[in-house]
């Protein structure tokens, strides 16, 4: 369970978020400037909340009152940025084993190969990121994040840089994978079609969660123009 209760003020943005993910997948939608990226940065530990608490599976990642603020590398979060951020100087296997430095070499390779196989990317192991398509990069980035057995996944626009065909295919794969792993996953997205991947949608506007629910629930009683527009878009 990922429990988020944070506040942070940056320039004109006054962010106050209260959100819980109980082994479910949530799509975080919202217009530009709503604070979605800021929220991701707060969760990752790149940015510190002014106040609040973040807990993951009973483990406190941040608590202003208790003065707990775990370093990024100790939060056990799997993170996939929009461009997938594969290390360009390492091949695919080098990318996936990067986070397994504490394991013995043979175990490292075994685990990386295992994840690449599960995501259908075994044949890419010796290629460099520059030689991969968008969809292949996404699979490798995901394998790299999952190989460390994270306690939650944070995905920033995971389908935005794919062509329409790859997008459809990977959304279907994602639905299957997320259902299989039962990991709390927060997917930041602009695209209403990404709602097909998740259990629930949380809409963020001007630093607040303004509405939560399934696509049908949002469509039935939207609280703002953005929610109405977002929920009304055809889901493919």
């Amino acid at each position: 369970m990922l429990e988020i209760r944070v506040a942070r003020r940056i320039g004109p943005l006054d962010l106050r978020i209260d959100l819980s993910l109980d082994g479910e997948t949530v799509l975080l939608a919202g217009p530009n400037g709503a604070g979605k990226t800021t929220l991701l940065r707060l969760l990752l530990g790149v940015l510190a909340p002014d106040e609040g608490r973040i807990a993951l599976g009973g483990r406190v990642l941040f608590d202003r009152e208790q003065e707990i603020d775990l370093a990024v590398e100790d939060r056990e979060l799997g993170y996939l940025p929009q461009d997938y951020a594969l290390f360009p100087h390492l091949d695919v296997i080098g990318n996936v084993t990067f986070g397994l430095a504490r394991l013995a070499r043979s175990e490292r390779l075994r685990r990386a190969s295992d994840w690449l196989a599960r995501l259908g990317a075994s044949h890419l192991a010796r290629r460099f990121p520059s030689a991969l398509s968008g969809g292949e990069r996404q699979r490798v980035g995901l394998a790299r994040a999952l190989a460390r057995n994270p306690r939650a996944l944070l995905l920033d626009e995971p389908f935005a840089s794919l062509d329409p065909t790859a997008r459809r295919e990977l959304r279907a794969s994602f639905r299957r994978w997320l259902a299989e792993w039962r990991l709390p996953a927060l997917i930041v997205s602009h695209d209403p079609a990404d709602a097909s991947v998740v259990d629930r949608i949380a809409v963020m506007e001007r630093g607040r969660i303004v509405q939560q629910g399934t696509a049908e629930e949002l469509r039935a009683a939207p609280v703002s123009d953005f929610v109405a527009g977002f929920a009304a878009s055809p889901v493919t």
């Binding site: 590398e73 993170y79 986070g99």
Partner: protein, 271 residues
């Protein structure tokens, strides 16, 4: 319209030709006015051996100092924007705009026997001025900005997401620097180190004032050229040609190893 373009082309061509001729003529002068015999004779000059050895030793030492401390400073400045970083960056640029002779006086007043830090060092039996370590300090001082600037620029071009992802994959800040920052900034770092080394090899003014001109101890190649000029122009010319050869070799290596990093504004790989 067409005539205007042609005139402009002509101005460009004439300007380029004049500038190119001005830049290459001194180098041609060094090469064209020296016979092969004179060159070999110059190579036998007793100043050459000690000066060459000293230059190699002091410039590699100063480069090591500049790279190790410069990397730390550049990473700090590039990854922690703020007032302190801006001040630190300006300080690191300072030696590039200070005349070398002034740098020599400054080094003497800082590290000389009665200098700010030198007086304290002297009380502990450490005398820096007019010694080989003084040469290394002078070279490090004047050459540091070339490496530091290049390193800051290379580190700033790094994709922030790559560094964040490395941390989420369990890498400590130090491991992130070592395994992601350094390799991705490598072309810029190599180019900076080469430019910095070239500046150190040619260093003259600060060395003369702070370290003196003692054969075998503080007389580097440029100082040997200066000394040889007083008695034998041919010997000075031969020594100069060696420095020119070193410069050309460096330029050649730079264009091969780090072509992208030599062009301002080009992105580092993966940035």
């Amino acid at each position: 319209m067409k005539a205007g373009v042609s005139a402009w082309d002509g101005v460009q061509l004439a300007g380029s030709a004049l500038m190119g001729a001005f830049l290459i003529l001194p180098v041609l002068g060094l090469v064209a006015t020296l016979s092969w015999e004179d060159f070999l004779g110059g190579l036998r000059n007793p100043l050459l051996g000690p000066a060459l050895r000293l230059s190699l030793f002091t410039t590699s030492s100063s480069l090591a100092l500049v790279v190790v401390f410069g990397l730390l400073l550049a990473w700090r400045v590039a990854r922690n924007p703020g007032r302190a970083s801006r001040v630190l960056e300006a300080i690191a640029q300072l030696p590039a705009v200070i005349p070398p002779a002034v740098a020599g006086v400054g080094l003497l007043l800082a590290f000389g026997r009665r200098g700010l830090l030198g007086a304290w060092l002297d009380r502990h039996g450490i005398g820096l001025a007019f010694s080989t370590p003084a040469v290394i300090l002078a070279e490090a001082f004047v050459s540091a900005p070339f490496f530091v600037q290049s390193a800051i620029a290379a580190f700033r071009r790094l994709d922030e997401n790559l560094l964040v992802v490395a941390r989420t994959l369990g890498a400590s800040p130090f491991r992130t620097f070592l395994r992601v920052g350094l390799p991705l900034a490598a072309p810029g770092l190599v180019a900076g180190a080469a430019m910095s080394w070239a500046r150190a090899v040619g260093e003259f003014g600060a060395t003369l004032l702070f370290a003196g001109n003692l054969t075998g101890r503080t007389q580097t190649m440029p100082l040997a050229v200066y000394t040889a000029m007083e008695s034998d122009l041919r010997a000075a010319q031969a020594l100069s040609l060696i420095l020119v050869a070193v410069a050309f070799a460096l330029l050649f290596v730079l264009r091969r190893v780090a072509p992208a990093a030599m062009l301002p504004g080009t992105e580092a790989r993966g940035a």
